[in-house]
């Protein structure tokens, strides 16, 4: 298993290097000159050229790319050209916020999506299946930004049950920083009031973000279970007198869920990209809003760092998914041997 994990990590490295180069070219060919933004409204072309030279933006693109890759390989992602602060520090504040939101959304997708898919398959073409199908189509079709605003209007403005925005009430401040995940940090600090508050702030953005993932996991689980139900071993298990509940949860689901596990890895990427709109609407200070601000300001260092960090997180999650798959499905583990 350890060799398998190592091989998966080594395979991810060239992909990340490709990502570094590709994003560099894409970001730098966009016609937005950070030097012009830095120089201000009354700066002459000569002043702008001087700033361009100071930041190395006047060098040929390939030379800039080589410098960038060399810096990345030494762990230096550079400084934001606008704030002047190391990008790693800025992302260090933003990444935990996005991860917290994404993990909770993913958890909701899996915890609700898998049972719904199972129930739908067990009641194939029955009322439960129809309801789950309706929910799945709805979950995939409803625009996230619309749902977000509707949830805000109902649960914050009308019912006054949940907060409208942010990660924590302003009056409470922030929990002592260990991981940057407010929920976890509050619990570690023994501040249950803050943990409750962080959880309340998570509900609406996580529900908005999880819906498309939940729908797709329910659909995948349903089709996986339906396929497994046709297998001979299910027939024999039935004949052997296993209870339908035990049959479904222990034997059928374990065989059917491997497709769903693969889906979770893909879904993680979709959730991170989907988080951009959700973060903006719920004023969630994560990587999505940071990336948007970087694009608008032509802060290419920040943008490059964001894409790389997201790429690394995505690669790590996919390695984890492969490991989980091997643990869940003995056939995969057998192949590895």
């Amino acid at each position: 298993m350890a060799r398998y994990v190592l091989r998966r990590i080594l395979l991810a490295l060239p992909a990340l290097l490709g990502l570094v180069l590709l994003t560099f070219v894409l970001v730098r060919v966009v016609p937005a000159d950070p030097a012009a933004m830095l120089a201000g409204d009354a700066a002459t072309p000569a002043q702008i050229a001087e700033i361009r030279a100071r930041y190395g933006l006047d060098q040929p693109l390939w030379q800039q790319a080589v410098t960038h890759v060399r810096q990345v390989l030494t762990g230096d992602l550079g400084s934001s050209i606008f704030s002047g602060r190391p990008v790693v520090e800025e992302i260090g504040f933003r990444l935990p916020a996005t991860l917290e939101l994404t993990f909770v959304a993913l958890l909701l997708s899996v915890v609700l999506g898998v049972p719904l898919g199972l129930l739908a398959a067990l009641d194939h073409n029955g009322p439960v299946d129809q309801i789950v199908r309706l929910l799945s189509v709805g979950g995939l079709a409803i625009a996230g930004f619309w749902l977000a605003i509707m949830l805000q209007l109902v649960f914050s403005m009308e019912l006054d049950l949940l907060p409208l925005r942010g990660r924590m009430d302003v009056a409470l401040g922030n929990p002592p920083r260990f991981s940057g995940l407010f929920l976890l940090d509050s619990l570690l600090a023994g501040r249950f009031d803050m943990a409750g508050n962080a959880l309340k702030h998570l509900v609406l953005p996580a529900v908005t973000l999880c819906l498309p993932g939940l729908a797709s996991i329910a659909r995948f689980t349903r089709s996986g279970v339906l396929e497994t139900l046709q297998k001979d071993f299910v027939l024999y298990a039935r004949a052997a007198g296993y209870s339908p509940f035990r049959l479904a949860t222990i034997y059928v689901l374990r065989n059917a869920v491997t497709v769903t596990v693969t889906q979770v890895g893909l879904l993680f990427g979709a959730l991170i990209s989907g988080a951009v709109a959700v973060e903006a609407i719920f004023d969630w200070p994560g990587l999505g809003t940071y990336a948007v601000q970087a694009i608008l300001a032509a802060d290419y260092k920040a943008l490059l760092a964001v894409t790389l960090v997201v790429g690394v997180v995505y690669a790590v999650v996919n390695v984890l998914v492969d490991v989980v798959q091997a643990l869940v499905d003995p056939r995969v583990a057998e192949q590895l041997k």
Binding site: V30, P31, A32, D33, P34, A36, M37, L38, A39, G40, D41, A42, A43, T44, P45, Q47, I48, E50, I51, S79, S80, F82, S83, G84, R85, P86, E90, F93, I149, Q152, L153, S156, M157, P163, L164, R165, G166, V170, A171, G173, N174, A280, I281, F282, D283, P285, T289, V292, Q293, I295, L296, A297, A298, D299
Partner: protein
């Protein structure tokens, strides 16, 4: 019984407001700048930090320029030598006294970094020409006379070199440290521990501020700046009481809703921020005066200003805001007149202007008004046989494109805000050909007579003379219609009704906390 008494006492603690309970902090919802280094950034959001955490030699209060850290200044007859006398006893946040040497350091740092706030000074000032005459007197010797020098003075924050010195790395003037820390003397002190760029900024009142607090017995002690990115969330947060203010660009369709809410109101203040549609005068068809006049008469000013923007703007005739000095008397704005527009366009076509091709107008997609203006213009121009193609872009993208005439779009839509209150900020930098290659001069207008008038106005320090020169230049520019000037902004800031003493300034929308109090 004892247990009962204890429980009762505990309950009373919750039920009764404690005497001297801490005031709930002011929660400010306006945008934060990318950095706290006021020598590295100069935009509307940075003004909030500049006004509250720092002091400059002069300051804008409303539309007026008033002496601030300086108690007075003198200028030589040739306009080259300026001397500023500091007030005595100004304290920085670390308790040290502000001296002329600190002002010299601040200007040297500004000029060395050469970032946005330096642009107003670099053409006329070099670091060695800023000197301390004595403890409280600073002398500036300019390389050429520069009329707007005093008007640009509030741009520059005076920093405390003693707190920066330990954090200087590789001759960076402490830039990395300054991005997230405080080296000021302003009325409020930044708490660097809670600062996150563009996300949160906490400030506390500085009791030793040199202006004192006698003017405001209920001054706000704690301020939490929490910008909200999305407009609808920002408005809802204000109405729900989570925020005490929005930014000052509340969409006009939200004004009635916010004003109707019992806990919120909208502060409406005429600013100095001109909305305009640029035309690239260097490129056909806009090198033809008839085309420019055709376009100037094809924009439905009344429809846009009064219907789309609900009359919450002021029609602006020329490049300078209406409420600024230096405008010619009786300048009548262009009117929406499609018959007249058609005449001009027909005449231009007869002269060979290529009006048959698509005219591209670049809009800033994230700013809805730029899109609305372009869409409305597109419909009206079609009626005079011109096809306008709307191209989505960002401010950064357009600024880059405007560096050369051949890459500057045919048209683009933007505002010119007040960086300092002087016609130089508008007509001076927009239509003098010496600024070609900057986004402000992106219509590539060129007229030797105008250049001469604007240069004379810029280099004079006699206000009456400058006024006449700017008015004369504006008259010519208006006649030649290089751009389409639409309106002067009325800033709309949603405020909680508990906020008292909010004071507006066209530079950076105001938001001077030392004047505010909370009514609860």
């Amino acid at each position: 019984m004892r247990l009962f008494a204890t429980l009762l006492a505990a309950l009373m603690l919750f039920a009764t407001p404690q005497a001297g309970a801490q005031q709930r902090p002011l929660v400010w919802g306006d945008t934060l700048p990318a950095t706290l280094d006021m020598h590295a950034v100069f935009d509307v959001p940075s003004q909030f930090v500049l006004l509250n955490a720092y002091d400059g030699l002069y300051r804008y209060q409303g539309n007026d320029l008033v002496p601030w850290a300086a108690e007075s200044h003198t200028v030589s007859a040739d306009g080259l030598t300026w001397e500023f006398k500091l007030r005595p006893g100004i304290r920085f946040h670390d308790g040290s006294t502000m001296t002329a040497a600190d002002v010299v350091y601040s200007f040297q740092r500004l000029l060395a970094l050469k970032r946005a706030p330096a642009a107003a000074f670099t053409p006329v000032l070099t670091p060695e020409n800023v000197t301390a005459v004595d403890e409280r007197t600073v002398r500036f010797v300019l390389s050429q006379s520069y009329g707007p020098f005093l008007a640009a003075m509030p741009i520059v924050a005076i920093l405390n070199p003693r707190v920066i010195a330990p954090h200087v790395k590789n001759n960076d003037w402490g830039a990395e440290w300054m991005a997230a820390n405080d080296a000021g003397s302003g009325a409020y002190v930044v708490n660097p521990a809670n600062y996150q760029a563009r996300v949160s900024l906490d400030m506390a009142r500085f009791p030793d501020h040199f202006m004192g607090w006698a003017h405001n017995p209920r001054a706000i002690d704690q301020v939490r700046s929490r910008p909200v990115m999305e407009t609808s969330t920002r408005v809802l947060s204000l109405m729900r009481g989570e925020l005490d203010s929005t930014d000052s660009y509340l969409p006009t369709d939200q004004v009635e809703r916010v004003d109707r809410n019992p806990r919120t109101r909208v502060a409406q203040d005429q600013s100095m921020r001109v909305f305009l549609l640029r035309m690239n005068n260097r490129k056909a068809p806009f090198d033809n005066l008839d085309v420019r006049l055709c376009f100037a008469h094809a924009f439905n000013y009344e429809g846009f200003n009064n219907i789309i923007l609900k009359g919450l703007v002021v029609r602006n005739a020329g490049p300078n805001p209406n409420n600024l000095w230096g405008n010619p008397a009786g300048m009548e704005p262009y009117k929406f007149d499609l018959a007249l527009a058609r005449q001009h366009c027909d005449r231009a076509r007869a002269a060979g202007a290529p009006l048959g091709r698509d005219i591209e107008i670049h809009v800033q997609t994230e700013l809805e008004q730029t899109v609305q203006a372009a869409q409305m213009f597109q419909a009206d121009l079609r009626r005079v046989g011109v096809n306008l193609k709307i191209v989505p872009n960002t401010f950064a993208g357009i600024v880059t494109a405007t560096a050369a005439a051949n890459t500057t779009p045919d048209m683009w839509v933007h505002w010119v805000s007040a960086y300092f209150i002087d016609p130089e900020n508008w007509v001076g930098q927009m239509y003098d050909s010496r600024f070609h290659g900057t986004w402000k001069a992106s219509s590539w207008y060129s007229n030797a007579e105008v250049d001469s008038l604007l240069t004379r106005a810029r280099t004079s320090v006699v206000q009456a003379e400058r006024q006449e020169l700017y008015a004369a230049a504006t008259t010519i520019i208006f006649r030649e219609s290089p751009d389409i000037w639409v309106y002067n902004t009325v800033n709309l800031r949603g405020l909680s009704r508990r906020v008292q003493g909010y004071s507006f300034s066209p530079v950076g929308s105001g938001g001077e906390l030392r004047l505010m109090s909370l009514s609860e």
